[in-house]
Symmetry: D2
């Protein structure tokens, strides 16, 4: 059994980890920390877990965490970097669901997140936990920087096009929409049912923190010869609980070519990427609660612009599920272990 610890388990990525680990046959949750809820029963805060856990939140304690085989950070940015050195030096493996170790350029990170980085020395050693790109490095990594939700959906969607250098990489567009759980479990007026339901809006258009992460990821995919990817990224807020739908646009550099086949071949063998048959399009509900990224590709009206639609569950493949996928890879388990239940429908 893989002994896991969770730092900051009171948010949505925390409870999603707990939900998934509750039925994972090779992992147990030994420690879960929360400053605010220390002493409270996990099942009291999250009644869906009644009968599944006999566990209480505790104050963060590095010593206790060091007893674990792997520690997940399900915290806002800034927390993981403040505790990482000690855990790292103790040899604990860490899967950080926050943004702390995703961006290689420290200055870029500091600019977008508005604070100094507390542990720049470990950024380089962090492996970006997108298994479809970095599976080999993940196997042996000690520190995983788990990708953000938008970045997962968008990078996977552009992947075959950029790897093959088929599009004008300097004018990429990602029009994405996220369910409201992406904003976290916090009492903000904008996130109220009375404010956000039966409505739709764009936000963060001037610059969303996921933009530098996505561009870094896209550039890592490209061959050396290509012009570095530049992206216009417009996120929107969906009146749904979960789900990200990214609609990607790029100008094809050459005509012809069987894009459907390209996508099917690239993701053949990937358990968590599902390319839909030509002419059908993904719905976010078909991946809700699952670790699957489902996608379609089409060149409408043969007009030279390719459109990719890519959907994930922002809390699963976009966060905690991908974290567990990384854990499975790191601990030499079947990659799909504990992640194979189909989505609820309806």
């Amino acid at each position: 059994m893989i002994k896991t610890g969770i730092v900051g388990g009171t948010g949505y990525t925390g409870v999603e980890l707990l939900r998934l680990l509750a039925v994972h046959p090779q992992a147990s949750v030994e420690v879960i920390t929360s400053r605010g809820e220390a002493g409270r029963s996990v099942a009291d805060l999250f009644p869906n877990l009644r009968g599944h856990y006999d566990l209480r939140f505790t104050e963060p304690d590095v010593k206790a965490l060091c007893q674990c085989d792997v520690v997940f950070f399900a915290t806002p940015h800034g927390v993981a970097q403040s505790m990482m050195k000690e855990l790292y030096d103790a040899g604990v493996r860490v899967i950080d669901l926050s943004a702390d170790f995703r961006i290689k350029n420290i200055a870029t990170w500091e600019q977008w997140y508005g604070q100094s980085h507390a542990c720049p020395e470990l950024v380089e050693s962090a492996v970006y936990g997108l298994p479809e790109v970095n599976r080999e490095q993940i196997k042996t990594a000690q520190l995983i920087a788990c990708p953000g939700c938008y970045p997962t959906s968008i990078q996977l969607g552009f992947l075959p096009l950029l790897e093959q250098n088929l599009v004008d990489s300097e004018n990429l567009i990602a029009n994405a929409a996220s369910g409201i759980s992406g904003a976290g479990r916090q009492g903000k007026v904008d996130l109220l049912l009375a404010e956000a339901s039966d409505s739709f809006k764009a936000y963060g258009v001037a610059g969303h923190r996921h933009l530098p992460e996505i561009e870094q990821g896209l550039r890592a995919i490209q061959s050396e010869a290509c012009a570095p990817a530049k992206l216009t990224f417009v996120p929107h807020l969906l009146p749904t609980i979960r789900g990200i739908h990214s609609t990607l646009y790029a100008k094809l550099k050459v005509e012809g070519g069987d894009l459907q086949k390209l996508y099917e071949q690239r993701f053949q063998g990937e358990a968590f990427v599902d390319v839909l048959p030509l002419g059908t399009f993904p719905q976010t509900r078909t991946v809700k609660s699952t670790n699957v990224c489902r996608m379609s590709i089409i060149e409408p009206q043969a007009n030279g612009t390719v459109v990719v639609m890519s959907v994930i569950d922002n809390l699963t493949k976009g966060a905690s599920g991908q974290g567990i996928q990384n854990m499975n890879i790191m601990f030499d388990q079947e990659e799909t272990l504990g992640l194979s239940a189909p989505a609820l429908l309806p």
Copy 2:
């Protein structure tokens, strides 16, 4: 492995059976029938099942169904009774999720369902598949009449009060609300998102088909000496996909008595009934996708009227999940097998 067949798999109880059986370690789906969709791939109709089934709908064929260990009917009323005799005589075990064999009094059934019963001779032998009441008979039953969704929620909620004869049984009230999937997967204007979302209404107030089933069930629970249960039942339509919330009212015959303890003791050991701590109330989302019935009991203002709140997922404990619970019992499996994943939250 238990070989299962499903008749009428294109509705919501059908796809729910498929979802649950996809991860059941001791059951396989061998046959799934649909007149309308014969030849079509299951995963094509229900894209959440892509990668989980390599199965196509076929025309209903009793011979093929007779190769199964157990056959589920996920059909509108009237279908199971038309095929039952042949299956029964062939020795196949059947779990009927429809209303065909639930009501013992044939005349009552025919009055409420507006048609002649095509197989009255097997009604008596059918076991009402509410495990918390009839577990022993279920073990050896050949034909299970699986309870309706409202009836499950309401009977479990009233159970301890009626068994102990604590309330005025002739003036029971069940104010219940169901998610819209209870109305089935059919293109009716009333069920459109544009009509039913952001709204709430009662329906079927003059008389809902579940009323005679509930009253029959409540009377079966009562001791002989009691006045037969009579119920005022008002169902409402929730703007949610799943979930039933029943709010039950009854006049206490005697004061005092620890109702909380009564409920906890009655359901102790029941894996799928969860009595909440005093003063907390159930939410439908905490049972969504699960086979759990979660409930609370309170006597507000100590005014002599007891209030029970009882929630289930109408498609799981209210239909397909309970069907599989019955199957587990019939085939001597752990009762919770394949039914233990926690609900999604958020």
Copy 3:
């Protein structure tokens, strides 16, 4: 033109007043106060009002309010009572949408609201602003205590039955459900779209603050000879933005009697109460944004229990719309002025 002022205009009853007054042909908004948003443009906080108001929030200032013909309080309880004496003595007419002056028994108010009443001397002179009951007193009142949302829906629903002494008044049941805007515009986790949508729950079952208000109102309706009304009141939270649906239950004391006719006759001439034809039931969406209370009455299965369904928009007939209805009456305007637009559908 009636010059109006609004105290506490940043909540949902505040913006609803602004929406309705924007198209009221005989009223203008002169002052709107908010400590937290002083200086901010109304249309900046509420973008639906862009182009309708050239008005900014100001610090509360009794002198400025005294220039108005009528002042609305759209504040949490406790605020109106702290400013009332000064306004009252200045002769300003006040319509208080909060609970401060609804309950005649000061001790009862203090018990349920958990604080001392700051202005008990004016409670007696306050007129309970339910026009269908107190129209005459409203005409000349200086201080209106506008009814709560649940109380409006429930009192109107029980009105004819209690006036005529037709039911067992000591065992009334009100099973009510409210859209989430009833909880106000405040950043609480429970009210998030991610928490409250696609779910349903009861709350405040042990005792909701509207209970004493409703019982007081019901008793005021009853003839002297009757046993004082006692109510079991169970509120629920709907995953909708607006709307209250109350399902009322009472035991009939005598059989027979044409309840449909009784309701139609009682509310004949009431512009804002609409009794539906027998056998049809109200939906909350058909009153959304309107001041209408729509209701149905039925005795299901002729079993001696009468069921009334009564729907309102909690922010309109349940608060701000009723406030304006009161204003129209007080200032000798057509009662429906500014309140006659039909509901949006779909």
Copy 4:
């Protein structure tokens, strides 16, 4: 008073016309036709209109319609063209909300709508009813082809950029999302609350019927010298009742230029176009039930791609409200008459 008739009043644009005309001070509804509902009371089918209309649906009858000053077609495509000649020759003015007379090129219309055009001779004389572009022609038009919902939102959004020839017109992108009422009041499984809520998807990506209408409209805006507009148009289905949000992308041909000012100046004086302050973005709920198109413009990261967000209510500015705006212009009324109530919020 303007006497109006409505053909096909049982759909969502029909009930929206009825809602708006119920409070229009200078218009009355004299006739409303429906084959399927002839004889039925309007308020029986649409209970939000109880108390507002004493009108019944009648069989379509050109003679009765000829008594009206103006006839609205709120029908699926194909109906208006079959009745138009007779009405036109009788001198009746017509506002067609359907697609029948929008596209000037008959072959294009026939290709996209899959049928022969029954009245090609009147297509040329039809005025495209987008007042912000064609106000002068609308004044004297006999036949108005009212724009589609997506086309209204998208054309208004691109208008200043194309008029000024500021962008690469051959590579325009419109990523749009519509509330489900855009699909009409029809009982299709895909539109059920159980299927469409809590989800999001693209549809019609290969080619949506609004594409040729939008391209025709965009080209009409452009100066002669420009390369004809070519659009990649991807519509999506929102889990909301109403609302269209279009996110438009275009490559700027020149740097610099104050786009915010350009938009503000272009739409200055337009009562129904509201350009938001720089840095704020529109929400569909702020235009729900109104005739307003609210928009923002931004060039994120100064990267050469301009993004316009444009929201409307698909049934109001996207259909019936725009129809009434046209009527007001045609009959020399204040353009905003009957269209000035603010949106509901929350």
